[in-house]
């Protein structure tokens, strides 16, 4: 139970702040990051009630630069199935990076910067920490020379999440009034220049703040000085995202799972479904037409026992029919919840499923996701 050696781990710009705040540091995606401060459940609940600050600097912030908007969009649309041509300045979209077989290489968010931020032809991407170097290699092998992809290790990323995040951030800038869910723009927070997006991975309203590494500690100090804001670690981030029904790369989706099976059809734009023309399109569009064999679903189990990643799902005869990819006892849902893959014919709300945990059957039911209602802020039209 002793803490592992952290000698070779990378440190984010907020490392000292985590240690000073009592964070229990663990390895994640090659970085030393806090799994918790006081406790996962308290941090989870604080995020649902007020606002929590998460260090997500380990994620890869990539700037995509082409000669003009059309060229950059064409390059990105060749890589991903998202409809990016329809993005307005300051809008962002969730999508996936696919291989030729239609498997998911990573999931990512692509942003078209606000007009005042960047010249025409520049786009932003945020990719997973453990995949960022892999992604860049994969992308550069496919992209044309006129569009470049630069990993910005000089930038930190801070997520401020929770129903009172807008109130907390709004004390320092006016950008919170301008942005709706999945919109982004530049601002200045306590003298610190930041790119702010209204997005996150907790199911709550919230923001992600991209700032220079050198400014990150001061921004951390400014935000946690607010009684509404507490720092939270990777543990709470994981239980929050599971309640929100959101996938975790390497667990709920991998490079051998296509987005149709992963129930991520929304990551494929309607126009792109009709036109194709993205890596893996043949495989994915064939799968859209045929339907998946196995499908990602949410499951609620009876009782309090957590059913974790790797647990097998069995039918009435005891034959293995699927597997759990994420699971825990959820603090807000107050239930044992999980995500996993089951045959498409039983991937329907209300269908009973049985998981095996240490040789014992645990009864569950396919459930609607998210497990906890999402509270993203939609701007009035």
């Amino acid at each position: 139970m002793a803490a592992g050696a952290q000698t070779d781990l990378l440190k984010t710009a907020l490392y000292d702040r985590h240690v000073d705040a009592g964070g229990r540091m663990v390895e994640f995606g090659g970085y030393a990051l806090p799994v918790q401060y006081a406790g996962i459940v308290a941090e989870h609940n604080h995020t649902r009630e007020a606002a929590s600050l998460f260090d997500v600097s380990h994620m890869g912030q990539v700037v995509v630069t082409g000669p003009d908007h059309k060229t950059t969009i064409a390059a990105l649309e060749a890589l991903t199935p998202a409809d990016l041509a329809s993005l307005e300045p300051g809008q962002m979209r969730y999508t996936v990076l696919l291989n030729d077989e239609g498997g998911i290489e990573d999931d990512l968010i692509i942003t078209r910067p606000a007009k005042e931020q960047e010249p025409d032809g520049v786009m932003y991407m945020v990719v997973n920490a453990a995949r960022k170097h892999h992604d860049l290699q994969f992308i550069r092998a496919k992209a044309t020379a006129e569009v470049t992809f630069d990993l910005r290790d000089d930038l930190a990323l801070i997520a401020l999440q929770g129903p009172r995040a807008a109130e907390a951030l709004g004390k320092h800038c006016e950008i919170t009034e301008k942005l709706g869910f999945m919109q982004a723009g530049p601002t200045v927070i306590g003298g610190i220049a930041a790119n702010v997006s209204r997005s996150g991975y907790t199911g709550e309203d919230g923001f992600e703040l991209s700032v220079a590494n050198k400014d990150a500690p001061a921004l951390f100090d400014l935000l946690v000085a607010d009684p509404l804001v507490e720092p939270a670690g990777l543990g709470a981030r994981d239980s929050l995202r599971l309640e929100a029904g959101l996938c975790l790369y390497g667990h709920d989706m991998t490079d051998t799972v296509d987005p149709v099976s992963a129930s991520l059809l929304f990551a494929i734009g309607k126009r792109r479904r009709a036109e194709g023309g993205f890596t893996g399109a043949d495989a994915v569009l064939a799968r859209v037409a045929s339907g998946p064999d196995d499908k990602r679903v949410g499951i609620r189990f009876e009782g309090r026992q957590p059913v974790r990643e790797g647990a097998e799902l069995v039918d009435a005869g005891g034959t293995v029919i699927g597997k759990i990819t994420s699971g825990t006892f959820a603090p807000t849902a107050q239930a044992s919840i999980a995500m996993g893959y089951v045959p498409a014919e039983i991937a329907k709300e209300g269908e009973p499923v049985t998981a095996m945990v240490r040789g014992k059957p645990i009864a569950g039911t396919i459930a609607k996701m998210p497990f906890v209602p999402q509270r993203y802020y939609r701007k009035p039209a």
């Binding site: 139970m1 406790g39 996962i40 459940v41 308290a42 989870h44 026992q305 044992s336």
Partner: protein, 121 residues
């Protein structure tokens, strides 16, 4: 009444032939919020070092091993509804099970308070 500890952070508090078993305060702190406890069956017998119970936090499951050999005489049913008692009061209300010791001499092989304090320092 003596309390002894294993290197895996279980404690056993022996009163005559009956030992009360739980996890140390150090262990509950390391595990974090306990959300579920899988209790043994009353009457089941275990040899020293065998897996008896499982304590699960939000993040992970941890096996609880029998600190000494014996037969389970009582389990803490309250933990089914309030597993957090292991966090808030590991030495008292958060006990996990009681067992009748098969061999009281086995206690001598475990750490006393001072040795355990050194072990976790």
């Amino acid at each position: 009444m003596t309390t002894r500890y294993t290197t895996d952070h279980e404690y056993v508090r022996a009163e005559g032939k009956i030992g009360t078993v739980g996890i140390s305060s150090f262990a509950q702190e390391q595990l974090g919020d306990i959300v579920f406890v899988e209790l043994p069956a009353v009457g089941a017998s275990f040899k020293k070092g065998e897996e008896v119970a499982v304590v699960e936090s939000v993040k992970a499951a941890s096996e609880i091993y029998a600190p000494v050999s014996g037969t389970v005489t009582e389990i803490n049913e309250t933990l089914s509804d309030e597993p957090g008692l292991i966090n808030s009061d590991p030495a008292a209300a958060g006990w996990i099970f009681k067992l009748e010791l098969a061999d009281e001499a086995e206690l001598e092989g475990l750490m006393d308070e001072a040795a355990y304090a050194d072990h976790t320092a």
